[in-house]
Symmetry: C2
Subunit: 201 residues, 2 copies
DNA sequence: AAAGTTATTGACCGCTCGGTCCACCATTCT
DNA sequence: AGAATGGTGGACCGAGCGGTCAATAACTTT
């Protein structure tokens, strides 16, 4: 009963997300967003509200899809669960060290810039971290069930610790630390996990 | 042979640092800095240059003093080296989780906001991380010498891994993760370090 | 005391900021 | 066809931005 939108919402939000991702919240202007999306100011404000709402929207989507993606990557049969987690973290290490990935992770960037002063961002960030933690813990529980982790190992605590390493990779990678060091962090963390007692073969 | 300055440079730089620390680089205006320092614009520009130089100056100082402080905290006799490092990281965990420490760490904030686009910041950040790593590694070498770490333990790799955990604490704390979880990360990381074989007593 | 030098202040600059508003347009309903 | 509805683009707003500058003040040297 009225004029339909001429833009693809998902595509616009992706462009907005990339701007915030590349430049940060404060350093991104509405003009930047207009240019990135090709939309006029009126459309942007009419469709999504102000800058802050726009950021929240894309931040939210990023968080949700991050957790989803990790869960999908880590879920699978018990067999190989530990190796799946290890490979995932090695991938994060490589990605974090890659010069083509200088912008790092939007969750990290948004949290660092805004969480202290913006409860909504902090809440979303915390929820996301907990989501990642849960995914890790589940994977470690599988690994224990499958015998790759000692029976007395505590997946909850180990999962939290690996979450710490995960976020550390992100932070250290942004400073330009080399890939070998980052991958070494993951390998070292995994080497020191409580292995299952060796069975005779 | 000229009019002397009426302000204390160290004090002014501390005020500037706190502003950047609390609000971030882009979100801090020169007016904020004028108000925080009590200086006029001309004095600020005359004494320190523009906003970017000012940031670099305080960022640099922060980095230097951070590494110094950690080295001082961790140095000591071989005896108790491992426990010193553990206590230090537990302190970081508690501090990172503290609601009175919402601003987190300036190194993390500055790196996250600027490193991708500002080589000077990235360089300084990387150097700082390496400094922390070295301090950790030395401490672990002491621990091994003293027998708290297995002889085959590799302090270099373990130090890097703990640096990852360290930066992870920072990042996770900023999202508001609870203190128990953060301290748990440290404890878990230390529990899984390769302990020295038990000797009969 | 006069000259020389530097610090200080705040008015001022052009520009960009986030946000509003409105004339105009494309579509659907009657 | 005409009215109603809501999307679109961009002119426009006041405020704030980073940065400059010139008048003035405070000190040292001669």
């Amino acid at each position: 009963m009225a004029r339909p939108r001429t833009f693809d919402e998902a595509q616009v939000l992706r462009a907005v997300r990339d701007q915030f991702w590349n430049k940060g919240y404060a350093a991104t202007s509405m003009d930047d967003l207009m240019q990135a999306t090709g939309l006029g100011k009126g459309s942007l404000y009419g469709a999504f509200g102000d800058k802050h709402q726009l950021f929240l929207k894309v931040f939210d989507a990023y968080c949700v899809s991050s957790v989803e993606s990790v869960k999908k990557t880590l879920e699978g049969p018990d067999a190989g669960a530990l190796e799946r987690l290890r490979q995932y973290l090695l991938g994060v290490a490589t990605a974090s060290a890659s010069p083509t990935n200088r912008r790092g992770c939007l969750l990290a960037r948004g949290t660092s810039e805004l969480a202290a002063q913006d409860g909504q961002v902090a809440d979303r960030a915390l929820e996301t971290l907990r989501g990642l933690e849960v995914a890790f813990v589940r994977c470690l529980e599988q690994a224990r069930a499958q015998g790759d982790l000692a029976p007395q190992a505590d997946p909850k605590r180990l999962g939290a610790m690996l979450l710490g390493v995960h976020r550390g990779l992100e932070a250290v990678g942004k400073a330009g630390m080399d890939e070998a060091t980052l991958r070494g962090m993951v390998e070292t963390a995994f080497e020191s996990l409580p292995a299952a007692p060796k069975r005779r073969r």
